[in-house]
Subunit: 240 residues, 2 copies
């Protein structure tokens, strides 16, 4: 069920033809996805398959097939006979994305909270470790580090729920919103509140309180949403 994601670091430049890894389609997919994530391909940019193929040192076919997968993931749109459009995120997209993670994180927390006690305790410990990292980054003024630890917390929460479909959905959603998260990291005022809420989620899981875990995870995401969306509107960030 797990899609093979070649997670090699992307060289955005010349694609030297070296070792034979997976398929060229996977290479093209990974390269394009990473380029979109780090904004090498800016949103709104309209690329041609020929040009990308040339840059990656392959023919148009694997680029085309990778573009289909990226479109399915919601990262680009293939305009018939016009080209590949890198999609931008509007505030309304962020609203949609938040509603999905509110639902998923809540159910995931609930599921983890009803695991057998040993698994529950291990999960809570893992989650607390990530929260510790967030607190340390916060104390040290390391904003990117805070973001990484925060992402790790939520990724661990989903992973512990042991649901491949939920994992893939959240992964796709995260790919879409990665740019926005990077941009808005320094806009978010209440890092401390997040840390406290993460503690509450882990504690509810530790005690096996499914309802409390569900509620804590939901409220955490809902607060983040209510905090971020007005900021996006205020700053007029029409496309992220």
């Amino acid at each position: 069920m797990a899609r093979a994601r070649a997670d090699g670091t992307s060289e955005a430049q010349g694609a030297e033809e070296g070792e034979k890894r997976g398929s060229l389609v996977d290479d093209a997919y990974a390269a394009m996805r990473d380029a979109i994530r780090d904004a090498s391909f800016a949103p709104g940019y309209q690329a041609s398959e020929q040009e990308i193929a040339l840059r990656l040192g392959m023919s148009r076919t694997p680029v085309h097939e990778a573009a289909i997968r990226l479109q399915e993931d919601g990262l680009v749109r293939v305009l018939p006979r016009k080209g590949i459009l890198i999609l931008a995120l509007a505030p309304d997209d962020m609203r949609e994305i938040y509603d999905v993670v509110i639902a998923m994180d809540g159910r995931a927390a609930e599921l983890v909270a009803v695991l057998p006690e040993a698994a529950r305790l291990a999960a809570a410990q893992t989650l607390d470790a990530h929260t510790d990292a967030m607190a340390a980054a916060h104390a040290g003024g390391d904003l990117p580090g805070w973001g990484v630890a925060d992402a790790a917390f939520h990724a661990a929460l989903i992973a512990q729920a042991r649901n491949g479909r939920m994992s893939r959905i959240v992964q796709a959603i995260n790919d879409q919103s990665h740019r926005a998260r990077m941009l808005t990291l320094n806009l978010r005022p209440t890092l401390a509140a997040s840390i406290a809420e993460h503690r509450r989620i882990a504690q509810a899981i530790r005690t096996g309180s499914a309802g409390a875990a569900l509620d804590a995870a939901r409220q955490h995401r809902i607060r983040a949403r209510n905090e971020l969306l007005p900021l996006l509107e205020r700053f007029g960030l029409k496309h992220l």
Copy 2:
């Protein structure tokens, strides 16, 4: 943002679904998806792209690209240099699927319940109409009709939440579980309970009780899950 899906899922826009029959890839995608849905392609069957292309009267290329989309949707698996494998659903897959719809239906109900009053009332009326159809089918012993009306209720609930990403996720999940729903329709004992629960969801939406709507939708799906999964295990339905 709405991808042109052959079955016409899309956002609310005045534009009519013209169903442009321009792309062979779309044709192949729709044909293969429908064949999988109604079990013309049985799970476990390993098809060759050449054979499908021949049957659809096109070359291998559009079939191959459609297969990529179907794989992304979780309906098939493309085995490198071996063929296209129609995926089967195990009870564990149904567990995963139910957890996703529990999360999504709950959030959707909550979102609909906080709409402005006019929209809320209209939504509740639509939902009740579907529930009426379920009751009528139940009274008339029309099991397939009951299933159609039940699906319409849940589709309407998601649609009213006005979240394209949620719609697409639920649509993909439904595509995966369609066969299983058809098979298990006559195994489910408590149709009457579903009808009563649907009424509760609609009522909570009507009164704008977000928490009650969330809980009613969640409990409805959770009960269905707890009812169905043991049946699947009992009957030894390893692959659906």
